[in-house]
Point group: C2
Chain length 242, copies 2
């Protein structure tokens, strides 16, 4: 049985626009190295069955998807255990796309958070803080999206652990999101941002789309998170109202 109604943690604003923040998952969708690509099988078709359906096989960390606390910290919440009240949050978009265009190792730093606040006011309670690095425009070019260097390291932007620590310790956030393959930048040799964020019971979103099409402040993110048993995360339909 689903839990009963819960009180919304936020006061909704007056919104007139909606923006899809989700990439379409295809057999070519880039996944973190080591994961198999998603598979699509047509199991019902019009000729034989009179209707059409697919069977899907994928690792939970495919496409625009959630990382639940249980992905990195044993005993913390699975994605399906997160209450839906956490799936609506004030959306803050930190744009580092100019820096990332010339430096694929760019990270969201504490200074970026402070600069966002200088321009937009204090982060609202329960904010969801998303990085726009411009990486979403590479989604149809998996090699450029993954960006494996000659040094065998990945090179794409992410949240610096210090910025994540600031958001967890000194602000009140619901989660963070990136438009790349990982919350930690590609060249990271450990998963400090993952551990800091998920260890605090917050969730992350990876592979977000179209963050350049929403305002940096004042919007609402809606997260259609996965509800599979014991989910470490999973494909999520994410949208913004503004």
């Amino acid at each position: 049985m689903a839990a009963g109604p819960a009180t919304l943690n936020l006061t909704l604003g007056s919104y007139t626009q909606v923006q899809d923040l989700t990439h379409t998952i295809t057999p070519e969708t880039p996944v973190f190295p080591g994961y198999p690509p998603p598979e699509f099988e047509t199991v019902r078709n019009f000729e034989e069955h009179g209707f059409y359906a697919q069977m899907l096989t994928y690792v939970e960390h495919t496409g625009t998807h959630m990382d639940a606390p249980a992905h990195f910290v044993e005993g913390l919440a699975f994605a399906n255990e997160l209450p839906v009240a956490l799936f609506l949050a004030p959306l803050a978009v930190i744009d580092i796309s100019e820096r990332a265009a010339s430096d694929p190792d760019a990270q969201v730093t504490p200074d970026d958070v402070l600069e966002w606040e200088t321009e937009n006011g204090a982060l609202p309670a329960g904010a969801f803080v998303a990085m726009n690095s411009g990486w979403a425009s590479r989604i149809d070019d998996p090699e450029a999206f993954i960006n494996l260097g000659d040094d065998e390291a990945l090179h794409f932007p992410g949240f610096h652990p210090d910025a994540t620590g600031l958001l967890i310790e000194e602000r009140d956030i619901t989660g963070i999101g990136v438009d790349t393959l990982s919350l930690d930048f590609g060249a990271a040799t450990s998963f400090d941002t993952h551990v800091t964020l998920l260890g605090a019971g917050k969730y992350g979103l990876e592979g977000m789309a179209a963050l350049g099409s929403v305002p940096p402040a004042g919007g609402l993110v809606i997260v259609g998170g996965p509800k599979f048993q014991n989910a470490s995360g999973g494909p999520s339909r994410v949208m913004a109202l503004f």
Copy 2:
């Protein structure tokens, strides 16, 4: 690339409560006879990998899920092609649970629609009309949820094709939803409600949860629909604000 922002078709109300309308998908989740059950495989674990992830395999019509127009009508929209503006809609809940308690073949009829309007006023433009038959309480008892009779027919409630026709032809709806395995009632020998609804380019939701926990009128449904390529539908995170 994701499409740009779209204008919301509705004026949002003032909501204070949120209700999850989604069942958790498990290996035991009841599916329409003939479909395989969903499979869960743990592909990353803390001992070996330092983190945890599953691989999932399922037919798109599993759990609380969407039926897209392309499920029944070749050439119409796949789930991933539906614009997100259609994923927020005024929610109307038609409660036939009293009748369904004694008659598993109960259907939402045109009279039920008219009675809802007598009690709640005209269906709002773009309404999503959901049937609450009480069936969601059977979700953990797959045999009772599927309810295969000695006559080899399925016995669970659904929308009568005449009610679906009324909603499509004489009202302005976004879609319809049921808390059972199918938009058409279980004993149907053809899929007239599917064809009428999906053929009109509308979407359906099957296996909805907790419809008894939301008001019959005045709420907003939010549908986190699937975004897999060529999706005939798929598991969706559905919630209501009221």
